[in-house]
């Protein structure tokens, strides 16, 4: 029996060698990767010794500040709580970071270039991080957040000319001081995917006008029940229109016209203009990529964007914001911003200034042009059409006194029997573009979302 016992010992020798092998795999060979894993709290515990920079609103209000905990450690406090939780995110030893706290972590802990300097500076002297000044406007953010109470939804407002994010609000929000209690930290403004409904007709209108195929005065037929991709399509309340202009078709949001326009423009051209507006890719905003989704016709099961040339995409229904099309509120705000800015799409920007502890401005990012989507002339034509929506069409509830508002409503049917819809309004004044979404409620975009947009625009001084 002794020979098998020797062999058995050899088996254990081998097994124990495997144990040492795996221990070295984590402790020595895979060490760097594990250290840098965002779930690893050890680096964050070290970074607690740094007095993290303050995050401020555009008017200087503190949105995130550091307080001394005990000894040489600092903790994060959020005086505005849920109000700014979605854009600001949180910084928590145990639960990691999100939002601006994650995107600007290097600046907030005062890390210059390489990681080693952090370790060095920890040893030498207490360190203070850089402050951030955001573009967020507390008065408007607060109003938007209040108006969203009792709903699920989001409001995004952008500076028309510079793409600065003035409002990014969503409900439900969470308490950034206690991320462990948050049911979800889902940011509806950047992660919520909704069918855009008729607001997407602004994109189709852009493609129609800028390609030269149509003019605002072009005569189109708005008969109810036109066959699009083999299936008859209805207008709102089954209303039939005769020969009307393209402007009238937008003012009254005539589905059959815009679906027909989409089909006639073709898949390629629709794809071209959607790409220029930034569909199909993550928004170029200073915000973590993991917390933003791209917009476009989406295969929800495989979680990927489909190209317009795909057989599964119905180009006519996509052109009126139906079919497989799913978009984020941020994307639709960008569409409004682009048209309002003479056809130039700007990169959305949350932070306008990075300031070091001595008060010097370290970085002041200039507004970045993302892309010219259409000619200035075309933008003016589409804008005029959208103004008529607010003046005499479905968007009159967004009209302001003394300021011209351009806009487009959207009512995306979710459950036809119960009358449940996703309710939209996108629009712009000379300075501010806005997108409002209210999730799964009765009513129309023009009656529910447009009044919210109006008040937010007012709060932003429009």
């Amino acid at each position: 029996m002794n020979v098998p016992i020797y062999r058995l010992f050899m088996v254990f020798l081998l097994l124990f060698a495997v144990l040492i092998g795996f221990t070295s795999r984590w402790a020595v060979f895979g060490e760097q990767q594990l250290r840098e894993n965002p779930k690893n709290a050890r680096v964050r515990i070290e970074e607690q010794r740094i007095k993290r920079g303050v995050i401020r609103a555009a008017n200087g209000d503190v949105l995130a500040g550091s307080t001394r905990l005990s000894g040489d450690r600092y903790g994060r406090r959020y005086p505005t709580g849920r109000l700014f939780a979605l854009p600001i995110g949180f910084d928590n030893v145990r639960f990691g970071r999100q939002g601006l706290e994650a995107y600007y972590n290097d600046a907030l802990v005062g890390r210059k270039e390489e990681l080693t300097s952090l370790v060095d500076s920890l040893i030498t002297e207490p360190q203070i991080g850089d402050d951030l000044q955001t573009t967020l406007v507390p008065r408007a953010q607060e109003l938007a957040y209040d108006l969203l109470q009792g709903h699920k939804g989001a409001v995004v407002a952008l500076g028309v000319r510079d793409g600065s994010v003035k409002v990014m609000a969503g409900t439900p929000s969470f308490d950034p001081d206690k991320p462990q209690e948050a049911e979800s930290t889902f940011n509806r403004a950047t992660q919520g995917l909704y069918p855009p409904g008729s607001t997407f007709k602004t994109v189709t209108a852009t493609a129609a006008i800028d390609s030269g195929r149509y003019q605002p005065e072009s005569r189109v037929n708005g008969r109810n029940g036109k066959v699009i991709s083999g299936t008859p399509l209805n207008n709102f309340q089954q209303q039939s229109y005769g020969d009307i202009t393209l402007t009238e078709a937008l003012t009254n949001s005539v589905n059959t016209v815009w679906a027909d326009v989409g089909v006639k423009l073709g898949r390629e051209r629709m794809q071209e203009y959607m790409d220029r507006f930034g569909f199909g890719e993550k928004p170029p905003m200073d915000y973590p990529d993991t917390q933003m989704f791209s917009s476009g016709p989406r295969d929800t099961e495989r979680n990927e964007i489909l190209p317009m040339r795909s057989d599964r995409v119905d180009v006519g229904r996509t052109a009126i914001g139906q079919g497989l099309l799913l978009v984020t509120p941020l994307q639709m705000a960008t569409v409004a911003q682009t048209i309002g800015n003479g056809g130039v799409r700007m990169e959305p920007r949350l932070v306008q200034r990075v300031i070091d502890p001595d008060g010097r401005t370290v970085d002041e990012p200039m507004p970045e042009q993302a892309e010219r989507v259409m000619s200035r002339d075309s933008a003016e034509k589409v804008a005029t059409m959208m103004r008529s929506v607010v003046r005499e069409g479905s968007g009159t509830a967004a009209a302001l006194e003394g300021v011209t508002v351009a806009g487009k409503t959207g009512t995306a049917e979710i459950n036809i029997e119960q009358g449940i819809n996703d309710l939209w309004f996108i629009g712009f004044t000379e300075d501010v573009a806005v997108a409002v979404i209210i999730e799964r409620e009765r009513g129309q975009g023009g009656t529910v979302a447009a009044p919210i947009a109006k008040q937010v625009l007012q709060a932003l001084g429009q």
Binding site: L8, F16, V18, L19, A27, A41, Q48, L69, V93
Partner: protein, 432 residues
């Protein structure tokens, strides 16, 4: 030098290790280096000396290295537990004393350990009862999804620790009876030795029991431990590799079947394979523990942070690694003492296994051989299961690291196991 004097001499480094360990922790905590560490070292030396005297007078021929090796592990365990939580270390020290009493009692009561052979079925029954106790409603306790603990009032213990010894005793007794029949009745089919069907029954029962444990105790690791010990014994008893291969295939088939059909086993495997998957990481009983064990080992690196220097708690109080003093103690050791410290601990277990198998080869009768093999194998497998779980060789299971982890049942059961090994050794090495 006689065997007993060698044993006594070997205890000195163990006590020095304890003294130095406590001194290191005191320095790390910036406390004055008092003579407390010396006191602890002295007390520990005293306890080991008493145990040594017991061995000297009752088992004069027993293996001289086994007890000092265990003492090194136990004192190392005490230091690490003290570094995690001082109060737990005091309790552990008390359990250490109780463990030594159990050690002495086992030696006194089982001078002729071959009595055990006669009561094999009673012992087997008791062992199974112990294993099933955690599933009894009202006293059973579920920890991390597995049913391993029992709680009666304020006392909680892990009956499986004692159960493993009972099962090994039964298997050794059973196999020494049937080993010849198993071999001689075998037929060779296509070059593979197949045991006679009549005797295959009991083996299937053991396989069934392992599968039963997998499903009802909900624990792949323990199941692997018992079945592995069984296969080790079967192999040594029959010297037929084919039996082991058949057994492994059956275990793998069963484990695969149950892991794909029983949800909680599947969860454990998911956690093992994808510790960083977002959904798994955050859910209760998810991969947070295993992932943070890996972070701790990465933080330790080659040489470690130094005893007592690694971060174990989030500054606002929560533990960074759940269960640092039991399941995850190996991760804490690597964090503090690095790969070298961890490898040292594993090497110590390897030396203990070497002594255990040495005892088995020296033993003259087959029951003693099988018993020594089984006891050694089950302990070594337990080390493999828990260290392998922490280092992600296999799915993590909540068993203790013998003599090192915090836990009374574990200390007591492993001292009884040690006593049995020394009893066998004493008999084997007695001059004719």
């Amino acid at each position: 030098m006689s065997a007993r004097n060698r044993e006594l001499m070997a205890l000195i480094p163990a006590s020095l290790l304890l003294t130095a360990g406590f001194a290191a922790i005191f320095i790390q905590r910036n406390e004055l280096l008092s003579n407390v560490s010396l006191t602890y070292g002295g007390m520990f030396l005293g306890l080991c000396f008493v145990a040594h005297l017991v061995i000297r007078f009752t088992l004069p021929y027993a293996d001289p290295y086994l007890f000092p090796l265990v003492a090194v592990l136990a004192c190392f365990g005490l230091v690490v537990i003290y570094r995690i939580d001082e109060d737990l270390a005091r309790v552990q020290a008390q359990w250490f004393v109780i463990g030594l009493i159990a050690f002495a009692l086992t030696i006194f009561l089982l001078r002729d350990f071959r009595l055990l052979e006669r009561y094999r079925y009673t012992i087997a029954f008791a062992g199974l009862l112990l294993l099933l106790l955690p599933r009894v409603p009202g006293i059973g306790e579920q920890v991390n999804g597995a049913y391993l603990g029992v709680r009666i009032g304020p006392i909680s213990f892990q009956p499986s620790e004692l159960g493993k010894i009972a099962i090994v005793i039964f298997l050794a007794a059973y196999l020494q009876d049937t080993r010849r029949v198993l071999v001689q009745g075998s037929r060779r089919i296509l070059g593979v030795t197949i045991p006679p069907l009549k005797h295959l029954g009991p083996l299937l029962v053991v396989w069934g029991a392992a599968m039963f444990m997998l499903v009802f105790i909900r624990d792949l690791g323990s199941s692997l431990m018992y079945f592995g010990a069984f296969l080790a014994l079967l192999y040594v008893a029959t010297n037929r590799l084919s039996f082991v291969v058949i057994g492994l295939l059956m275990f793998a088939a069963g484990a695969w079947f149950f892991s794909s059909t029983v949800g909680h086993v599947q969860d454990r495997i998911d956690v093992w394979l994808n510790p960083f998957a977002p959904g798994l990481y955050d859910q209760p009983g998810g991969s947070y523990q295993i992932a943070n064990g890996m972070f701790a080992m990465a933080d330790g690196g080659l040489f470690g942070r130094g005893l007592g220097a690694a971060v174990l708690r989030v500054p606002d109080g929560g533990p960074l690694i759940p269960a640092p003093e039991t399941d995850m103690i190996f991760a804490v050791i690597v964090n503090d003492l690095g790969l070298l410290g961890g490898a040292g601990v594993i090497a110590t277990y390897l030396l203990i296994a070497e002594r255990g198998f040495k005892i088995a080869t020296l033993a003259t009768d087959s029951f003693s051989k099988l018993l020594a093999t089984g006891l050694t194998a089950v302990m070594a497998l337990q080390v493999f299961v828990i260290v392998g779980g922490v280092t992600r060789v296999i799915p993590l299971t909540g068993v203790t690291l013998p003599f090192v982890s915090y836990g009374g049942s574990s200390i007591v059961a492993n001292f009884i196991l040690l006593a049995l090994l020394l009893l066998i050794s004493n008999r084997a090495r007695r001059p004719a």
